[in-house]
Assembly symmetry: C2
Homo-oligomer: 260 residues x 2
Amino acid sequence: MADTRRVTAAVLLIGDEVLSGRTQDRNLQQIAQFLAPLGINVIEARTVPDIEDEIVEAVNTLRAKADYVFTTGGIGPTHDDITADSIAKAFGMTIDVRADALAIIEEWYDKTKTPVTESRKRMARIPEGSSLIKNPVTGAPGFQTGNVFTMAGVPAICRGMLEDIAHRLEGGTVTLSRSVKGDNLREGEIAEKLGVLQEENPNVSIGSYPYFIEVKAGEVRRGTHLVARSTDKRALARVIDAIADLVQELGYEPRIDPEE
Amino acid sequence: MADTRRVTAAVLLIGDEVLSGRTQDRNLQQIAQFLAPLGINVIEARTVPDIEDEIVEAVNTLRAKADYVFTTGGIGPTHDDITADSIAKAFGMTIDVRADALAIIEEWYDKTKTPVTESRKRMARIPEGSSLIKNPVTGAPGFQTGNVFTMAGVPAICRGMLEDIAHRLEGGTVTLSRSVKGDNLREGEIAEKLGVLQEENPNVSIGSYPYFIEVKAGEVRRGTHLVARSTDKRALARVIDAIADLVQELGYEPRIDPEE
C-alpha cells in the first residue's frame, strides 16, 4: 500500500441561534463534504455561544489539535458579531479596520448606491497578518489567520468562501467511502460477523447505522446502512463485497451504493 | 424582577457519520428545542468520532461545565458502538450486562420471536450505578449516569428517550424568545440602533441573522431576522416593540412572530 498522508480539520460553529435550537446548522455537513475529496477529514466539531472567552478557548484548543480550523458565524455588522475580535484575541494579535477589506466592502456597496455605515465598516475589521477570503454573495470578506479560516454563518456565503480557499489547503490522502444498504436488515443480525470483518480489515473503518424512514404517514421503512471508509481502494472494495455477501446470506437484498 | 435560576446543558454528538458529512445531525436542534421550555439552555455542543479517548475527554469536560450532558449515538449492537464503555471509563465505573436491561431487551425481542444474539446482549451493558432510559421505538434502553444522559443517535429514538427523562430534569427559569422579521431589511441599516438598544437592555439578548431564501429558482428573498431572548417577559416585549419600530422607521414592514 502506498504512503498515506493524514490531514485533519476541526469545525467551530459560533452562534447562540444554533445552540438555542432556533437554527438548524447546515455548515458542518457542507464543510465536511467539501473537504472530503481534498483528503481532509473533520475530526471534531464544536458549537459555542457568542461569548468571547468561549470562542477564544475553542479556537486555541482546536487549532492545536487539527491541521485546519474552519469557523462559521459572527462576522456581520451587528453588535452580536464578535468573531473577528475573538480570533484576534485567540492569536494575541491586534485588530483594526483594514484598507483592503474596506475597499472591497465600499466597492460592493457602491454598486447598489448603499452607504457604508459605521457598522458596515466593522466588517472590515481583520486580525493583523490575516489574508482575506472572498465573499461572492454579500461582499464582506472572511479571513485566514494561520491555520484558522473564519467564514460566514449563512450557508450560501460559507459555501462561496470554501470555494475561494480550496487552493490554499494542502490536502492529504483521500478517504474513500462506500456503503451497502439492507432494507429490513436489523443491526443485531449482522453485528457479530461485521465485527469479525472489522477485525480482519483494520485499514478499513466499518460503521453500521440503522435507519427508520417514514415513507408515508404511518409506514416506516427500516433497515441498516453499512458504511465502509478507507484510503485503500482495493481493500475497501473487498470489504464492500464481503458486506454485500453477508447481507445476502441473511436473506436480504444488498443495495450497493455506486462508487463515490 | 423575580429571581432567576440558570440551568445549563451540553450536547455531545458521537459518531464518525456526522463528522464525515454523510449524516446531517438533527439531534442538537431537537434536544435544544426540547429543553428550552424546561428552562434548560444548551451552552455548548461537541461532535466527536467513535474513538474512546475522545469520548471520555469530551464527557468529562462537559459534565464539569454544564448541569446536564446529553449524548447521542453509539449505543447499538455493532462493534462501532463504544459509547457505553466510554461513559463507564469517563466515570471510572465498571460496566457489564445488567439483568434489568437484558430483561427489557429479551421481552422486546420476544414479541417478534427475534433471537437475542450475543451482539444484542451488548446493548444491555450499562455502567455501574446508572439508571435506565426507556426506548419506545426499538427497546434497547439508554441510561443516566450522574448528570450524563446517554441516548440513541436515531432521531426518533432520541426523541422518545427525551420524553422519558423529562421528569428527571430540574428545570430553571425559562428563557423566552421572540423575533421580528424584516424582508429586504439589511443588517447594516439597523446595526447601529440595534447596538444601542442592546446596551440599554442588558437583560435581553438581541441577535441579528440575515436570511437568503430561494423562493423559486433564481429568486431569492432576503432580509434580516431579529431575535430577542430573555427570562423577563415584559422586558422582552418592550425590546420586541422597539425593534419593530426601528424596522418600520427604516421603511420595512416588521413581521412579529406570535408569542412563543
